[in-house]
């Protein structure tokens, strides 16, 4: 990790770990078809609309900041996306999961059904394109359909959920899409007491991102040994 030289404007591009994996497959799944922009690392509280030097200097604390090089880990990049919204938007979309902590017991199931506040003028609703759900440690869930996206009924949902079952052996996260996500806790005991987990509780996290709004929320998961 290092800083980029910000004396000149350059673009430092790399393939992500996922990109290398898909490129190695050689099945055409690498094809780039869309882009998104993000403002990771920007702290907007540094923006000062009261700067006595005038409006040209409101963002001076942001504009000259040095930026870090790109990380190859795709889960650590593009966290906070820029979003296209109608002008005069006063409230940004906010994703809520309905719970602050997901508490489960071994082999039990839990369905996460997120809602988005301020989405297309609605106070609280489900996004048209659904949500992306990523659990940080798939080993904590049942082998078959332990993390299942549902609700959209589209080809994209089926394709993404099918592809997500293919892992490269080292990537323990799993991503699915849908309007809701059904989690089924593992019945296996071996992870209890290992690094990051207590003798009786497994800890992980689920990240939920609105596919239209880009808004995201993270919810901790606790699976209690029975």
């Amino acid at each position: 990790m290092g800083y980029l030289n910000n004396q000149v404007v350059t673009v430092d591009a790399i393939l992500t770990t996922k990109g290398r994996e898909l490129l190695a497959k050689g099945d055409g799944s690498f094809n780039i078809t869309s882009f998104a922009l993000s403002d990771d690392e920007i702290d907007y509280t540094l923006y000062n609309p009261n700067n006595p030097s005038g409006s040209a200097f409101y963002g001076e604390a942001i504009q000259n900041m040095p930026l870090l090089e790109a990380f190859p880990d795709e889960t650590q990049m593009m966290k906070y996306k820029l979003v296209t919204l109608p002008r005069d938007t006063a409230k940004m979309p906010v994703v809520t999961a309905g719970v602050t902590v997901i508490k489960m017991k071994q082999t039990s199931t839990f369905t996460v059904t997120p809602q988005t506040l301020n989405y297309l003028g609605n106070k609280s609703t489900t996004e048209t394109s659904g949500y992306v759900f990523t659990v940080s440690d798939v080993r904590q869930f049942a082998q078959n359909n332990g993390v299942l996206g549902q609700g959209l009924g589209t080809d994209a949902e089926r394709n993404l959920n099918a592809a997500s079952s293919q892992t490269n052996g080292t990537n323990v996260s799993r991503t699915v899409i849908g309007t809701s996500c059904v989690l089924t806790a593992t019945g296996v005991n071996t992870l209890y007491g290992q690094a990051g987990n207590s003798a009786s509780i497994l800890y992980s996290v689920i990240t939920i991102i609105g596919r239209d709004s880009g808004a995201r929320v993270q919810v901790p998961i606790q699976i209690t040994k029975t």
Binding site: N31, I32, L37, S38, A70, P93, A163, R211
Partner: protein, 352 residues
């Protein structure tokens, strides 16, 4: 992904005009640390005295021989001369014969064919395979100078790719003759083709397999005939260390008497690049999901001025596939301001 009717989106599609595939040739040096010319050559006594030393000598960049092999010297003989037989009861089969068969299979393919350097066949020669990590894809024709010194005289060799003739293709790709000269310029003092007087050319330059063959008869000739009096021994069932003899004239060509030049060698690589042109229109990407852009839990923007005139700063560009998986990412060196009065056009280059 939402369409424009929804007026909310975080992904923007790329069309065919935004993607461009291009290839370019990148030349560089072959030797370690971007050294253009190798003037000192080192062997490892451990390697020379090991089982592999019967077949080839590894030539190192530094005296310590710490693993930075640059190329190897293998002596090849159709009769198996110059090394001990595998079995004294089986005539002709020795490491030098194995080397010969290996290169004949690789380059000629046909066991009935023989090596013809220029207009003369040769039944013994040296093979100098260059370390692949150095030449990457292929050696660059027309840029080589190889100096060999013997008896206070220095012979400089290059390839004849700049003479304008068509390359000869073998089972191992292109073949150019090694001729007297430097950096592609041919010396015609002895022969109009740059060959020796009586032994044909000095060997072959094969860029596609990163290997050079040096003709034994050509190097064994007198300096007046274009050789360097290299005393290659073809004694049967005798370990005569012919690679050591070439190693000596190489070293003298790099740092010995006369006007040493060393070995200048360049590589060539075709680099394929994807160019992606990302365009953010004035109406798009003007709000942020960054937590610091929001004040409170109801999603209100941080400053009232952001309602009508949001100011966001782009730091990263993510490139996605059909499954919305992040396959590549580009990072700007400084934040770029984006608002409803600005458009952004960024060219991203991905090398493969």
């Amino acid at each position: 992904m939402a369409d424009q009717r929804n007026q909310i989106a975080t992904f923007a599609p790329l069309d065919q005009g935004d993607l461009l595939i291009s290839t370019e040739n990148v030349t560089s040096t072959v030797w370690l640390n971007n050294t253009p010319t190798l003037t000192s050559y080192f062997t490892s006594s451990v390697q020379v005295n090991s089982a592999t030393g019967q077949f080839y000598y590894s030539i190192y960049f530094e005296e310590e021989a710490t693993g930075s092999v640059q190329f190897a010297i293998a002596y090849c003989d159709a009769d198996g001369s110059g090394s001990l037989l595998y079995n004294p009861n089986v005539d002709g089969l020795s490491p030098t014969r194995t080397n010969y068969g290996q290169y004949r299979n690789l380059i000629l393919g046909d066991e009935e064919s023989s090596f013809v350097f220029g207009n003369q066949s040769a039944s013994y020669f040296y093979a100098l395979p260059v370390e692949r990590s150095g030449y990457k894809e292929e050696l660059l024709p027309g840029a080589m100078t190889l100096a060999l010194s013997g008896s206070d005289e220095t012979l400089r060799l290059t390839d004849d790719s700049k003479l304008g003739g068509a390359a000869v293709f073998s089972e191992a790709g292109r073949i150019f003759n090694l001729v007297s000269g430097s950096a592609g310029a041919v010396y015609t003092d002895i022969n109009s083709n740059g060959w020796t007087a009586n032994s044909g050319s000095y060997g072959w330059f094969m860029p596609d397999i990163g290997t050079i063959l040096l003709s034994g008869p050509a190097l064994s000739g007198s300096f007046a005939d274009g050789g360097i009096d290299l005393s290659v021994s073809r004694a049967s069932n005798t370990q005569v260390n012919n690679p050591e003899k070439l190693y000596t004239v190489l070293n003298d060509g790099g740092s010995g008497a006369g006007s040493p030049d060393g070995w200048t060698l360049n590589s060539n690589e075709q680099l394929s690049s994807d160019f992606i042109f990302v365009r953010a229109r004035s109406q798009n990407f003007n709000y942020s999901t960054n937590p610091s852009f929001i004040s409170g839990s109801d999603g209100s923007v941080l400053y009232d001025t952001f309602i009508n005139d949001p100011q966001v700063y782009i730091t990263s560009i993510g490139l996605y596939n059909n499954n919305q998986e992040l396959v590549a990412v580009a990072k700007l060196s400084r934040p770029l301001l984006k608002d409803f009065t600005k458009e952004l056009l960024v060219r991203i280059k991905l090398d493969f």
